[in-house]
Subunit: 214 residues, 3 copies
């Protein structure tokens, strides 16, 4: 039986490694977004956004490898549906963070003038760090208290991001920007706010994994 | 064997109780929305929207308890994926209903002047009652005809809500409201229409549960 | 054992038949959309959109039959979650294609003047043909190379559709159309682009089925 288990267990490790690789990517891409929203120069932002694109591509590849491993491995460290949901959530976070960066230059928005964009980028950065900590603890499910604290932190950051979003939208509609500018900024706020929603989704999956092992 | 089953069966009941609690919340929150859309006074609407927020929070808690029970219970009354999908759909319905109420005051829209908003709020109220009846019948899966009738009713209400939505959007674009007002009203119509879509999702899950037991 | 298997296998065929029926519907409805975007006459477009609506209804019925069979059959040719996800993706593709056609006349847009709409309709048509080929190969999972080629093609078409979308949105914001026209066209672009996203979703599910059988 020990031999039987040792045959399978090393294959499990691949999931922990891939999830950690994905959450490292999330930290890198969110740090680039914070640089983008504080960079006054369009062309320097363009370089950063290109780097974000590369990270997002690397992350697509990690997600793809998780799905391939899920198809190949009969034995998995958590429920298959949880692995699928967590991989999808981490992939979505990267997609929305990249999309936020891309739209800033695409719509020729000056992020320096927009506190809502800057504050939300920082909230995304904090949420991503909490996601990364929770993912790291998955490898060793003994410290459930630590994981639950991360999940609570993610939810609290998501609530703040909602408040920043509401405040930004309210200001936008009260400002005298024309309709085109309003549509552009509103779309960027929405994409950024969705990035924090996806962090919350990741936190919810991690919580459900912890509950099953409790 | 009887002892074995009796050990597990009472734990099943928790799911019926939680689903009924969620659908009771849906009825309360949809009744508040109907009051909001007929209330001319901004401040009185604000009180109602605060009450909607409380119900939405209570419902988040019910959803969370369903997921925790799902993690804890090996034996469930229906397929785990159906329980997860139904809990998510009921949670989404409450979220979209609250969001509709919140956006009315947030965007300083006068709902009294907007028949599309009023009619959709009433359609949501009817759809929610049909969802509640279908959920109640789940406890006793013998009356499948009754459940199917509820599902058909939900779908029919969702179709009417689509028609009201199309009509409202058409009027909005033909009216002389400015772009900001148009964007605000369109968002409220969309959120309300999505609430009825989520009722349809709940109906579809309930139908799939019934089919498996037929 | 052979007798046991032969009892179940014919019931499996129903899934292949239904998936092929769905992908035939997708080809028909995407061909109608291409006709719509090249038809200068509003009333002739109206006839085509009515035909699209009929196909979309037929496809709802196919999807519903897949879910019913999934509830009834204990033995399925692929994982139940993959059958569910593929059926949902094919259903979504039809919904978004119909929605694109419907919105063109609903918003009284002249598609002849809009190269972005025309090119995206053609991209959707190509993606749908690749989806159909991949679905057809599912019946005989031996030719995995062929299926993977289809999936790569779908992803490549989706990338082109993204580029057409970005270019169309950029032109739209730089043009002197008023805000109402901008909101309408942007919504049509988004719905069409989502149709190609849903083709990619279908391709991803098909890939995950292939990986499990490799």
């Amino acid at each position: 039986m020990a031999g039987f288990l040792s045959y399978f267990l090393p294959k499990d490790k691949v999931f922990y490694n891939l999830f950690e690789e994905a959450s490292d990517n999330l930290q890198s891409i969110s740090e680039k977004l914070i640089q983008v929203v504080h960079e006054p120069d369009y062309n320097k932002r363009e370089v950063l956004i290109k780097e974000m694109h590369d990270i997002e591509h690397q992350n697509d590849d990690v997600t793809h490898r998780i799905f391939v491993e899920l198809g190949r491995n009969f034995i998995t460290p958590f429920d298959r549906e949880d692995i699928h949901a967590l991989a999808s959530a981490l992939d979505d976070i990267a997609d929305y963070i990249f999309s936020a960066g891309k739209k800033i230059n695409f719509y020729k928005i000056d992020p320096i003038q927009d506190q809502g964009i800057q504050k939300t980028a920082e909230a995304i950065g904090e949420a991503v760090i909490a996601v990364k900590q929770a993912v790291k603890e998955l490898r060793n499910l003994k410290n459930t208290q630590k994981i639950i604290e991360c999940v609570i932190k993610i939810n609290s950051i998501e609530n703040s991001a909602d408040d920043i979003f509401d405040m930004s939208i309210e200001r936008l509609f009260e400002s005298d920007v024309d309709a085109k500018e309003l549509i552009k900024r509103r779309e960027i706020y929405q994409v950024m706010e969705t990035a924090t929603d996806k962090c919350e989704d990741a936190g919810n999956v991690i919580e459900s994994i912890v509950v099953k092992f409790a």
